[in-house]
């Protein structure tokens, strides 16, 4: 029984960390319409910077400044933000698919730099030896994982409240206005380029925060953590959950990561012994089917975006399904 609880704590931690990243992407795509194909670059920048700033000194590569943990994590977010600002300056004039290709390229470049810049990032061996915060006090076992989970959940709630407040604020309305019709927004005196950059950087900082927590939890990061598959996973979570809806983004993270891990567990437990060797491939097929099925039958996601029209004296709610796009 304790095993089940212990595993659930572990699972929830990872799902919540991914959930934070999905919420960051939701700000970019769901609210502003920026097709970020390089989620993993922000995630990786957060993870690498956090471990480099907070880890112990090591030979072979730079880093190991041993900063106190909150500073290291803030440094991770800052690194993700700076990277996003540079990338945003260069690419945000691109629209939709072009932006996706450009940012995807940035993510691939990021992975290659991490892999090859051995003297800075430890190369393919990655960065290890990070001391997780409070470990000396709580040990390495179950207690630690519970405390860490609480910390991650608190962070998740803070990010959630921040984003919910942001999207109903005038700024949130402006994001949607730019998403729907940039020319119209411009005609009203808004500066779409600047607003898009702010949204992109903010979303990336949130994704970087998730990356920092991820690196902390595993006390390790290597180029294998920043492969394009992670971008795909986070996108799948957002699509299934429902773009434009912060709740949906969170739900998507838990559902997709749950399906990803549960299918592996279920197959290893229930598949016949001859099929055991093929469960890895079967799992990929199942996950693909879920995503394709969602796109076919419920493209707006499980929790579609709820658009609120704020006018004095009346609050009408309409959903996209009713033709209000």
């Amino acid at each position: 029984m304790i095993g089940v609880v212990s595993y659930l704590v572990f699972f929830t931690t990872v799902a919540a960390i991914l959930g934070i990243a999905v919420m960051g992407l939701n700000l970019q795509w769901g609210n502003t319409g920026l097709f970020n194909g390089g989620v993993v670059a922000s995630f990786g920048a957060g993870a690498y910077a956090t471990l480099m700033l907070g880890g112990p000194p090591q030979d072979g590569h730079v880093g190991g400044f041993g900063l106190v943990y909150p500073l290291a994590l803030a440094g991770g977010m800052l690194a993700a933000g700076i990277l996003a600002w540079i990338v945003g300056k260069l690419t945000l004039r691109l629209r939709h698919d072009y932006l996706a290709i450009a940012t995807f390229g940035v993510a691939v470049a990021f992975e290659n730099v991490m892999r090859n810049a051995t003297t800075i990032t430890g190369g393919a061996q990655g960065i290890r030896g990070f001391e997780r915060p409070l470990r000396a006090m709580l040990g390495d076992g179950f207690t630690y994982n519970v405390v860490f989970l609480v910390g991650v959940l608190v962070t998740l709630v803070l990010v959630y409240v921040f984003l919910e407040r942001l999207t109903v604020s005038p700024f949130g309305r402006m994001l949607r206005a730019i998403r729907e019709d940039e020319t119209a927004a411009r005609s009203l005196g808004k500066a779409p380029d600047r607003i898009r950059l702010i949204s992109f950087v903010t979303g990336s900082v949130i994704i970087g925060l998730a990356g920092g927590l991820y690196g902390t939890f595993y006390a390790f990061v290597s180029p294998q953590d920043v492969l394009p598959i992670l971008t795909f996973q986070i996108w799948a979570m957002l699509i299934v959950g429902g773009a434009g809806n912060t709740k949906g983004a969170l739900a998507g993270a838990f559902i997709i990561w749950g399906a990803w891990t549960f299918s592996g567990w279920a197959l290893s437990r229930f598949a016949p012994i001859e099929a055991q060797l093929y469960t890895g491939s079967i799992q990929f097929v199942l996950i693909g089917l879920v995503i394709v099925g969602m796109l076919l039958w419920r493209p707006q996601g499980l929790f579609p975006e709820r658009l609120v029209v704020s006018q004095p004296g009346q609050n009408r709610e309409k959903t996209q399904a009713e033709g209000f796009t």
């Binding site: 572990f10 393919a124 061996q125 390790f220 294998q224 592996g264 469960t279």
Partner: protein
């Protein structure tokens, strides 16, 4: 339980039959996290299961039948760590086999097995980072790997080059943790042997062409080329190398010991190619593994990590036997020394060997496991050294050119260090 075990071993010994009825009453689970969704990962899992089957045929370990619960890592650290955690928490395993990639094995070690007190034995993770982590005391003695550290491979590469009289060598290496390690070590060994390294070029996976990399390596017009690559990109890179007029004097790491590589490049281009590998000792057990493998799978065990995976599973299960029933992961890890004791009774890596080992262990003795990769002997960091062999390709597989015993390997490595 111990009495039962002694009895079972006694009965098995007396009758010469391998199956003990008592052993089938209970089941102990061991976990395996391997990349089964990747083409080269599946045989590694198959051969681990094969080792488990043999132990079960000999009556299981610690009085119970062994069930290997296999999970796929998808070569994704998140997925691999989750799978390992599920195996430890939900299936209650004390022994974890895997993973293959160091980038997956490392987070499993730091966040699941070391904190959870579970023994982890990898067949194939070669990163030198594990040795460092272990020296820092962070693995709690729970980490082992049957993949001889890259040091043996690279020293043998230098030996081939100096024996053949090559004056200059270029290096092409796979751009991952193993390849980067390999490239660094071999460059140092070449330098120590007085051979010039004209260039060291990284080869990334799945590129449509390696012309740029190959051209760069050709630039120094070396006498020979050293290849630390896997069959897929190795084939493409070597084809371009030869078509651009590169030398056919090649030195190959053991990862290229594959029929696929030979067939796709063409044997006529590989006549001057010499490979290095860690070797089986001249004992029956290595041949037994080969024969058993051919009988079971219908081909020779020519693939990366197969013999290592078999030994990892075997040693883990023997250690479980030595640790006895209800042993914790740390107990089992401590018992590894009992089954890889250089002064112990030698045993072979098959049903008969396992039966003999159980008898010896039940009597309080220790055994020397002679497996598919040789006399496996772990040092304090869970690393292994091994005898080495120099090989070349033939029509039907590979032929041995020279064999170096563990002593000769160690002596050569020492001579390079001077």
């Amino acid at each position: 339980m111990k009495k039962l075990l002694t009895l079972a071993a006694f009965a098995a010994g007396m009758s010469g039959l391998s199956v003990s009825a008592h052993a089938q009453d209970c089941t102990t689970k061991v976990g395996a996290v391997l990349p089964t969704s990747v083409d080269w990962g599946r045989p590694i899992a198959e051969v681990a299961q094969f080792a488990v089957d043999q132990v079960n045929e000999a009556g299981g370990a610690a009085g119970c039948k062994i069930e290997m619960v296999l999970r796929d890592t998808q070569v994704d650290p998140k997925v691999g760590v989750d799978a390992a955690k599920a195996l430890v928490d939900l299936e209650g395993v004390n022994v974890l086999l895997g993973a293959v990639s160091s980038g997956v094995s490392m987070p499993i070690l730091t966040s699941v097995t070391a904190p959870g007190g579970v023994m982890q034995m990898s067949c194939c993770s070669s990163s030198t980072a594990f040795t460092k982590l272990s020296e820092e005391g962070k693995t709690n003695g729970l980490w082992f790997r049957t993949f001889a550290t890259t040091a043996v491979q690279s020293a043998m590469g230098a030996k081939v080059a100096s024996d053949k009289g090559y004056k200059s060598v270029a290096i092409l290496y796979k751009n991952d943790d193993w390849g980067q390690d390999m490239a660094r070590l071999i460059a140092a060994d070449f330098a120590a042997a007085g051979i010039e390294v004209t260039g060291s070029v990284a080869i990334n996976d799945a590129q449509p062409s390696y012309r740029a990399e190959v051209t760069e390596a050709l630039g120094g017009s070396p006498d020979a080329i050293y290849l630390a690559l896997y069959p897929n990109e190795g084939t493409s890179a070597v084809r371009e190398w030869i078509s651009l007029g590169g030398t056919q004097n090649m030195i190959l790491a053991n990862s290229l010991k594959s029929d696929e590589f030979r067939d796709n490049v063409g044997l006529q281009y590989l006549e001057n190619a010499l490979g290095t590998d860690t070797a089986s000792p001249r004992v029956a057990s290595a041949d037994a593994f080969k024969a058993a493998y051919v009988e079971k799978f219908g081909s020779e065990p020519n693939g990366p990590g197969l013999a290592n995976s078999f030994d990892a599973a075997m040693i883990a299960l023997l250690a479980m036997e030595a640790a006895g029933a209800n042993a914790s992961g740390a107990d089992i890890a401590a018992a590894v020394a009992k089954v890889t004791d250089p002064d112990g009774a030698p045993i072979t890596a098959d049903v008969a060997g396992v039966t003999a080992a159980k008898e010896t262990l039940a009597g309080g003795g220790t055994v020397k496991y002679q497996g598919a990769t040789g006399d496996v002997r772990f040092d304090a960091n869970g690393d292994v050294s091994a005898p080495a062999v120099i090989w070349k390709f033939t029509d039907s597989g590979t032929d041995e050119v020279e064999y170096l015993s563990l002593g000769e390997v160690d002596a050569f490595i020492a001579s390079l260090k001077k």
